[in-house]
């Protein structure tokens, strides 16, 4: 089992979700994050003071998948999230020791 963490652009979320559902992904968890990277932020101005906002709003996806699914899920995210412009985001893959479904107590891949 692997946990995929992907940082993406807001307006891509809908597409990615749909693409993954078609792929048969059963679930995911998303959260609001702010990212800092090659993509520059913007400057804001309030009365006198102008200042730079380096952090750009992004969405973080967390998807737990079986090793089998891993490649195809990553591939799908890549394709749908890509715009080719700086700031498209990253995908991180983490090994998972275990997964448990609270409702049933199932563990491992059955719990995904």
């Amino acid at each position: 089992m692997k946990k995929i963490e992907a940082v993406i652009r807001h307006f891509k979320l809908e597409d990615i979700k749909n693409a993954l559902m078609e792929l048969g992904v059963q679930g995911m968890t998303i959260s609001e994050v702010r990212g800092f990277g090659r993509q520059k932020g913007h400057t804001e101005m309030y009365r006198g003071t102008e200042y730079a906002v380096d952090f750009v709003p992004k969405v973080k996806l967390e998807i737990v998948v079986s090793n089998a699914q891993l490649a195809s899920v990553i591939d799908t995210i890549m394709r749908t999230a890509q715009t080719g412009q700086i700031g498209d985001g990253k995908i991180f893959v983490i090994d998972l020791a275990n997964t448990i479904r609270i409702r049933t107590g199932e563990t491992g891949e059955d719990a995904i």
């Binding site: 307006f11 809908e14 913007h42 400057t43 804001e44 101005m45 309030y46």
Partner: protein, 498 residues
Amino acid sequence: MPLVRVTGHSVLAVALILLSSKTVRAEEKTPADSPSQSAATTSATATSATTASTPTGTTVKDAKLAGDNAWMLTSAALVLMMTAPGLALFYGGLVRKKNVLGVMMQCIFLMGMNTVIWGLWGYSLAFGGDPKSADFNPWIGNGQYLLMHNVEPHWNEATHKADIPMADDIPRLTHMLFQGMFFIITPALICGAFAERMKFSTMIAFTILWGTLVYCPLAHWVWGGGILQFGSTFAIGHSPTSPGGALDFAGGTVVHISSGISALICALLIGRRLGYGSEPMPPHNLTYTMIGAAMLWVGWFGFNAGSQLKSDSIASSAMAATHFAAAAGAVAWAVAEWITRGKPSALGGCSGAVAGLVCITPASGFVNPMAAILMGIAGGLACCFACTSIKSKFRYDDSLDAFGVHGVGGTVGALLTGVFATRAVSDVNGGAPLGLIEGGRIFTGQAIATAITWLFAGIVTFVLLKVLDATMGLRVTQQQEIQGLDLSQHGEEGYIFI
């Protein structure tokens, strides 16, 4: 003639005018001047009308002016409150978070810019000219009120006291202020159609042109003695046997139909928002929308009851009709949703109230409470239908339903005025019945005025937008639209909750 220069470097010119004001006034004395003059005299007479004065010299006229003026100044304040906070919250809550300042800034900036325009030339184009005078122009106002001459008090060397121009029962300045608030909110209503994608600079250019070329003529036609004013000798369909023109108490045609139809044209020409249909675009803050709707409801009392231009029993009637229509509209829309979708939404209730208010606007000073309730229901249901079925059918992106509510509601209201208006509330036709129900015959006039407003506002708006699209461009770039208007147009964020 200095006025040409004015529009150019107004500030400078204004200064010049100010310094050379006396001379300018001299040049400007025209017959059209007479009303304010006569008014000035009237006010003079009044002060000397001792028959009604107490030992301390207060006249009945002063006393009445105090009351009427109190209500009219209050009404003006209420109508300003409609644009912001009212409309700013109502619209601001409906857009996505990234565009909330964009919408609110449109309201605030229009409060500023249109007020200045109104003072420089708007009021004069709308209300200049006296129907009784020989050279009256029923199509557009004249120059008598440019830069507020003959509106502001001016020092009379002869009497060595100030002449105070009057507009019937109230100082002309009060009339100008009150009407000026309408000049602000009308274009602000249109912003609902092109929200979330219009270029700020183009919005400004559009508003200047639209206000001057659409609003001012319309106001002159309907309220300035022009071709649509009920009973005016210049009115279309006017004849010894028929008053001609149409009844529009507070702006069904001038404000709502004109802005509504223009909004539709805007929505069609500027095109849909990026991702419209695919991405969800829910209101980011319905609590704002509800607060805004409530403020619109309250402010509308000034809008409608204030349109009586004095504080008498007809003002009370207008306020009652307004209140009942808003109430009925709110219930109607919410219940309609309840029946058709299983749940009454908060947005539905608020939209219904606004729809009812729009619908009653032209009729407010002419109908009794029960008629107002029926009109509120009609407005609520018609707009609900327009915002749901019609819009989704034709798939135009009237983002905040400026057309669905103001265009449709205004039209329904203008027509129903011809049905429910009664001489019992305002006897404007020498004792003759008004609406169909009491056997009157004004309905045709209402229909004609509505059609003319549709055509006029629609065509001019179309032309203006085509020109602006070719010259300045209507829309922000894709990049900017994705980033949001707050950042791209104003360099700010609405909420920083971290």
